[in-house]
Every structure is written in C-alpha cells, then in structure tokens.
C-alpha cells in the first residue's frame, strides 16, 4: 500500500463543512486557518471519541498525530492536538480546555501511537495527567523532580538541586 499525499483534493471549506456534518456539536468553533489547517475546540470528555472517529474517517482520515502541546493559561490549562491527514494534506488543530486544579485528560496514544511521548512530556512539564496512558513517567527531568516547570506558578525548590 502506498501513502499518496494529497490524493483527495478538497478545499479547506469543503473539508470543514464535511467535518461539521460528521461531528456536529463535538467540534465547537470549527474555523479555517490558512493555508491548510482547520481549528476547533473539543470538550475534554469527548476527546477520545472524536479522535477515534477522526482516525477512522476513511479516505479523509486524520491518520497521524503531529504533536501534543500543553499551554498554561492562568485560569485553566489547555492541550493542543495537531493531527495530519496524508490523503488530504491538511492539518486539524484541536484545543481542549482542562481544569487547572484537576488537570486530567484522556490519552489518545492508543489511537495515535505518536502521541505517547508528547503526552509524557506534557505530564512532565505541565502536570497534565493522561488517563489510560500505559507509561506516564517523567521524560525530560529526573524521576524525583518536584514540580512541573512550565506552569506559570512554578517554584524551583532547593531539593531539586542536591549537592551532587
């Protein structure tokens, strides 16, 4: 089987209407961002279902996860998912709002294996716990590091810098 990039020729608007039809309410605020990205917000609890459906869309499936980022807006956290479709050569960017005090989100690494380490990094740096992740450990920092550095209220503790 060969992966044909851009085999399905759809403009972004057509793609947007098609996805809106498929997903209805699950994709909130679906809009087009030139040149090749659709942006939408997804509710935290519907994320796994939406991702599974995006993967299984057939000829316009979004089959690859480009990256997963976590951003700390002081009132809440947000995870950003960037998915790529080889057949239409377009991206879709999903923004998921997460409660700051209970920073839990569903994992999508059972659907997209490429998201595995990105979610580990989001846990390490931002403290977002991914439910269902097979191996949620720290990835970039020491195992016994205290705190999640990329948070805006991060306090660097002395215990993180031992007398080596």
């Amino acid at each position: 089987m060969g992966i044909e990039i851009g085999a399905v020729k759809l403009t972004l608007d057509e793609l947007g209407t098609r996805l809106q039809g498929e997903f209805g309410d699950d994709l909130v605020d679906l809009r087009v961002q030139e040149p090749d990205t659709l942006v939408a917000r997804v509710d935290r609890h519907k994320l796994h279902a939406v991702a599974a459906k995006l993967k299984g869309l057939g000829e316009i499936a979004y089959d690859s996860c480009n990256f997963v980022a976590a951003v700390d807006y002081v009132t809440h956290l947000e995870t950003v998912y960037h998915l790529y479709s080889y057949s239409t050569n377009t991206y879709i960017e999903l923004h998921v709002e997460i409660d700051r005090n209970n920073a839990v989100c569903d994992t999508i690494c059972d659907i997209y294996p490429a998201a595995n380490w990105h979610e580990r990094e989001a846990w390490d740096m931002m403290g977002v716990r991914f439910e269902g992740h097979p191996d949620l450990r720290r990835i970039l920092l020491k195992d016994d590091w205290i705190g999640h550095p990329l948070r805006k209220d991060y306090v660097d503790l002395v215990e993180n810098h031992p007398n080596v």
Partner: protein
C-alpha cells in the same frame, strides 16, 4: 601553611626539591603533556567542534592528542563539551571518579564554564566546576577548534609545572582541598544554596528587564 602530605600521608612525595625530582619532573611532565588521551565526553554543540578539531583541517594529532578513548578508565583528560544539567551531573561525577590519576579537566564552552546562554534554566548546573575541579576554562559558544587548541596548550604549560615535590596549600583553602579530593564547589557550598535559578513567575522576570 600545610603540606599536602599532612592531609594525605600515604602520598609518596619528596619534601624538598632536588636534582632527582627536577629531572624526573622534566621527563614525566614532558611525556604526560605531549600524549594525553582525551575522553570523548561531548554532551552538546561543543562536541561537534571537538569532533571538527579531531579531523583533517584542525588536526589534533599534530599535538599528539588524537587518541580519544570512549572509556574513562583509559583517559587522562576529560573535555567537558556542553551543558551539564541536574540529570547528567551524577553521571559526570561518576565518570570523573573512574579516571585514574593524574587527570585533568578542560571545561570547553560557555555552558560548561558557567551555564552559558542557559544560566537561568531550572535544570542547568552553572558550570561544571561545581561538580569536578577544572584546570582550564575555554570560553566561546562554541569555541573554535583553534580556541580549543589554545586551551590545550595552556594545559600543557600547567602540566609542566607539576612536580614530585609536595605542594603547599593554605589550611583554610577549602576549594583547593576539595579539588585535591576530586570534587567541585558543591562539596563545600552550604546546603540549600541555589545559584541563580529561574525566578518563580513571569511577573518577577519582567522586573529583571
């Protein structure tokens, strides 16, 4: 004023310089400085400049230093090329301990000297001299291979000052004593001291500007 022998009585050194020690010094220092085995400890970008200095244009072999060994047990010189962070620091210390005497450390680049452009990172150790005693510091980001050679030649001069005669050190010179034990500044720093870390939030950071 004490002698090293007072602290380490097992070391066999001569008390006073004489014709035997000066001749032996000359021969041993000449041999040691002209055929050092560096340790391939490239961590980051400076490692690529260290590699370049080993290849054809900047030939490190003309100084006799081309035998880079990957295991610390066969090396004299550890060229720390790159940023050392909290995860890497115990590894660095362990590798330094595995080298046998006499051993030297060159801290290559701004990151190994003092943290470099990442000095206020939460994970960055501000200088490898906090962990191991350093003999020569080479600034630069990255230092050109010629700068590395200049540092190496300075190290050669330093080696030529080594002697079989026990050196004198001040009683209160904690840093020199730590250096003799093979430890860096962190051994003598009081517990709980951090060195210029990232401030706690963005508001504070804006004040610094």
């Amino acid at each position: 004023m004490a002698r090293v022998m007072d602290h380490y009585p097992k070391l066999e050194r001569f008390e006073h310089p004489n014709i035997v020690t000066t001749t032996a010094d000359l021969v041993f220092n000449w041999a040691r400085s002209r055929s050092i085995f560096p340790f391939t400890y490239g961590i980051a970008c400076c490692a690529i400049e260290m590699l370049s200095s080993g290849f054809a244009r900047f030939d490190i072999a003309r100084f006799g230093w081309e035998v880079f060994r990957p295991t610390p047990r066969q090396c004299d010189l550890m060229i720390v090329a790159g940023t050392v962070n909290e995860k890497m620091a115990p590894v660095l210390k362990r590798l330094y301990d595995q080298m046998s005497e006499p051993k030297w450390v060159i801290s290559m680049g701004a990151c190994a000297t003092s943290g470099g452009p990442f000095y206020d990172g939460y994970n960055v150790v501000n200088g490898v001299d906090k962990i191991v005693p350093v003999d020569v510091y080479i600034p630069g980001c990255p230092p050109r291979p010629e700068a590395l050679f200049h540092g190496m030649l300075q190290l050669q001069k330093k080696i030529q000052k080594m002697s079989f005669v026990a050196p004198r050190i001040d009683e209160g010179d904690e840093l020199a004593l730590a250096s003799l034990r093979g430890e860096g500044e962190r051994a003598i720093a009081p517990a709980g001291q951090t060195d210029g870390r990232l401030p706690t939030n963005a508001a504070e950071s804006q004040e610094v500007q």
